[in-house]
Symmetry: C2
Subunit: 161 residues, 2 copies
Amino acid sequence: MFIREMTRREIVDLLAASRFGRLACTKDNQPYVVPINLAYAEDHLYSFSMPGQKIDWMRANPQVCVQVDEFSGHREWRSAIAYGVYEELTDTPQWKREREHAWSLLHDRPNWWEPGGLKPGPQPVVRDPTHIFYRVALKTLTGRQALEGEEISRRPAREKH
Amino acid sequence: MFIREMTRREIVDLLAASRFGRLACTKDNQPYVVPINLAYAEDHLYSFSMPGQKIDWMRANPQVCVQVDEFSGHREWRSAIAYGVYEELTDTPQWKREREHAWSLLHDRPNWWEPGGLKPGPQPVVRDPTHIFYRVALKTLTGRQALEGEEISRRPAREKH
């Protein structure tokens, strides 16, 4: 097995293929991490949530970190981390287009409402004021990939992410 | 589908059954989240890592958050969050017993060294100074479970974790 750094292109591809990840936010030096459904489009990750702690914390401090990974085979995996900034897609004309875009990306996913909240009623969530749509504007991306086989080039011993 | 809060006993059982989770730490209001291997014992989560960003950040700010989850069935899942404090099991006589305990919990896991670092050499990791053993002293635990079926009691709409 060997571990290599992923390229930005590979990281974006992994984000685009991901339906699920973990989002960390922080308040007063206390981190908080939760699973989220997500969809990638044009340097943003789109998601939604019930009101609650993570929305409260991201409103107060928009610096967030999202982690996604993929396991394939016995010892092969890819893990990517995206640092970004929380942007709430409020239910106002200003964000109408982005909310509808988020809805179009997220609504046809199996179990797409989990674990973002309770199963919505007959009204689509985009019209449900108890759901909050948001996106993360991506800034710095890092990723590592573990592959079976011989190590081609020795990686530095220091962890890079 | 309905969602319920998990009891502390259920959360501890989920932590004890988990081999893998996500750890979030924070520096200067910037969160960071990474996958870790872990093992639960007596109100602590044990793990190890190569030197790097998360160790640097946890040394500077020991407040961490660990998230584990389990999916079973189409829409059923459990997710638990543990807030805790980072404690480094330094390679000194003071922490010898805890390091050996961590080793005993972690060493027989399939792929237990992933993604904590590169594959170790013939020396066991407990003797490898490039690996850092640590544990998280657990403080507050929260957990939610989604179950198929009718909602028995309506949960409050506000997200609890």
